[in-house]
Amino acid sequence: MKRLLDVSLETKINGILIGVMSLIIISLSVFYLYHSGSEYYDNARRLTLQSAKTISFMPSLVDGDDLSDNEKIQTLTNQYIFENDIDFVIVKNKEGTIMSHPDPEMIGTHEPFSNDARANIFGAYYTEETDKYIEPAILAIAPIYAGDEAKQLSGVVKVGYFESKIIERIMVKLSQLSFIVVVFIILSFFISRWFGKYIKSETLGYEPKEITMILKNRENIFSALDEGIIGADLSGRIIYLNGAARKYLDIPESADWNACNIRNHLGHDMDSVLQDSAPGIRYFETQLNDKEIIVIINDLYIKGELSGHVVILRDMTEMSELSNKLTIVESLFDDLRAQSHEYKNRLHLISGLLEMEKYTAIREVLNDEIDNLDSYQNNLHGIREDRVKALLIAKMNTAQEKRVNFRVDEESRMEEISDKVTINALITIISNLIDNAFDAVAGRKSSEIEFYTGWFDGWLEIAVKDNGSGISDTDEVFRKGYSTKNDSPGRGYGLYNVNNNVELLGGYIDVHSREGRTIFTAEIPMAQERGEDDEDPYS
């Protein structure tokens, strides 16, 4: 059975359709044939019985109290056979002598009563099937009465109808029917062929098993992805959702996604993006479950008509962390390079002084260098966060190379920060603000940058002051792509990133630009640290 079912879809459909159609056609035909067959038999019975009765009541059949002579009876029966659709008539008198018979030789011979006794004794009228005469026939038997005042049974008449005639008529019906049956089966063959092909075209030629496999594989692949994938129709109803998307949108396993609307989760941003921009691939950034997500929207077309959207959710949190680290490492690398360059200069200087044997000058240079190192240490004393410290040292070195006076305020304070997201964001903010200041003061004489960080009452303040070119439009600076230097593409992300990270931490940033001095001030709530500090203020 299993092997029998293990055939292609087309074969299955063909088999079922042809099978069912043939079964119906054939069983209907058989039923019809059986029905008309038994009707033929019934008709033959009725006809023969009616004929037997009619003959038995013919007045000329009897002569007084007895049957007429043979010749008269034979004329009578022959005429009757000629006029009616019956095959033979046998007349027997009460003694069993045959008076009329299809076979003339039988006339006058004696035939004992057997099946016809019921008519001969009891006067019964009935039919039976017999093969006693010539060939199998339906035989009706009727008694013949004679006499006027007192009737007397004087013989029986038997009327026969050959079964072969019935069978012949059934055969005619059968051949007609079989023609129809064959035509219909051929028809059903073509219909099922067409239907099988149609189904196959609907499934793109795949077998159901293959389709299942493809679906399963797709499901597996999608669920293995870290990216969330959502299929939604135009109204926003979710038609597909992979595991990652479920996680990002916070839809529990048990929930039926068909009831969810993507607009409930990505509402406004998605609408505005869809309305604002031209069709094609669109994206925006958003935050879901404290994660930075890039949402990419692809249009979904079915038969050339827009039917929905495929939404891809890409978690940018790790990526931005990574890029932050990379930036820091890059800048450290730059700073190292700057430092080594600086030291090389100093070494050249010392070597030159040695050549000239100006030892006092050498001592001054060395003292200066040692002071410098001390001042780093002193100014950074209040900053307990090592990563920020390292960043600041690196920036100092860069500043020295760029001949910028970079100063860290002695009052700067920063506690250690354990949260990774926060520290990454902070590093991005600080690094970008300082870099921005470097850019602002580039090319000026006696350029100064001052960095300050303070820690008040659970709020972290970061201030970067420069005496650079100043900013005319303080609202525009945080826009993506804004740059004072419009000469190269790919710039202008620094302050945009700062703003994003400040918002990520729930703080705000301000910029003041007046009389050639620009101050960026970021205020960031340090909820965790404040919580720890204020947990028990009365202790």
């Binding site: 019985l49 004794i121 009891f122 006067g123 009228y125 006499g147 007192a150």
Partner: protein
């Protein structure tokens, strides 16, 4: 969909309960709820008609049936017309029947069989006699059978009104069992029992088979001799009349009359008539009817009647198929 199906099935169930409750109630208390019709499948004056009218009188006078009862005559076809009529009626129509309800079908006279109806009771029977003229040299039944065995054509036998009736069947049967070639027997068929009697008394025939009620009077007055009866008990009017059993032939044959209803009567309706008829046959009025008509009490309730009819049917079938084929 599912809930709709559930809803439907509940409704159906409720409907069934209500209907069945109604059915019980009405059958027990209300039946018969209108006039009862007794069909006599013969012309007024015949045996079936007499039975129907006697039944009507007794049930009415004894107050066994509260509703009015009417006798309806539907003559023709040896009962066929009346019984066809009954088949289409409800349970307030009953019909008198006899062995013809079985024999008609076997003789090819009717498509109806006794199984198309609801048997209610067998009420009475009379016995069948074989009579010879008083001057006949036939001594008794066995003597007659001996003669017929020797030459089946030696005696002319009168029967009426048709072959295949009880008078005829009982004679054929006893002759067949004795070894007579029944196919050669010379039966003269007369229009009625009266004509049979006339033919016998007039010497046109040697023997007649007819019911005792028809022959007894002439026997008592000495015009003819009853040489055998199909009875299983002595005839009260003349205990010297010998039955076949008395002559050493184990053979009885009741010419019974009964009553039946249309097809598919309920058990409650059947029970109602069982009770009614069993009370009726106990009544003195009914005894008088039996005496007046020369009938014997042969009461059987519906269940016994059903079994009796099955048995009779088998007997008739057997008789008609094997008679004359024993040699």
């Amino acid at each position: 969909m599912k809930s709709r199906m559930k809803f439907l099935s509940v409704i159906m169930l409720a409907l069934v309960l209500v209907l069945s409750a109604c059915g019980n109630g009405s059958a027990e208390s209300d039946y018969p709820s209108k006039n009862v019709e007794i069909v006599a499948p013969a012309t007024p004056g015949g045996g079936w008609d007499a039975t129907a009218r006697a039944l009507q009188n007794v049930l009415d006078e004894e107050g066994l049936v509260e509703q009015n009862m009417n006798v309806v005559n539907k003559p023709g076809g040896g009962g066929e017309v009346g019984w066809q009529y009954l088949k289409g009626k409800d349970s307030h129509s009953l019909s008198i029947n006899s062995s013809l309800v079985i024999a008609n079908n076997l003789l090819g006279q009717s498509d109806l069989t006794y199984e198309d109806f609801t048997p209610l009771a067998v009420l009475a029977t009379e016995w069948i006699s074989v009579a010879v003229p008083s001057d006949s040299d036939i001594e008794d039944g066995v003597d007659m059978l001996e003669r017929l065995k020797e030459d089946p054509k030696s005696l002319k036998i009168a029967v009426g009104p048709a072959l295949g009736n009880n008078d005829h069947l009982s004679f054929v049967r006893v002759a067949d069992e004795y070894g007579v070639d029944v196919s050669q027997l010379e039966f003269m068929i007369y229009e009625s029992g009266g004509d049979v009697l006339t033919a016998l008394l007039g010497g046109h025939v040697d023997v007649a088979t007819l019911s005792i009620s028809e022959s007894l009077e002439q026997h008592l007055s000495g015009n003819l001799d009853i040489i055998a009866t199909t009875a299983d008990e002595p005839i009260p009017e003349d205990e010297s009349i010998e039955s076949w059993q008395d002559q050493g032939i184990d053979f009885t044959f009741p010419h019974w009359r009964g009553i039946m209803g249309p097809p598919d009567m309920t058990e409650e309706e059947i029970a109602y008539w069982d009770e009614t008829f069993s009370e009726m046959v106990e009544s003195e009025e009914w005894q008088k009817v039996l005496d007046n008509n020369g009938w014997q009490d042969y009461y059987m309730n519906s269940e016994e009647t059903k079994a009796f009819l099955d048995e009779q049917n088998e007997m008739y079938e057997d008789l008609m198929k094997t008679a004359g084929l024993t040699e």
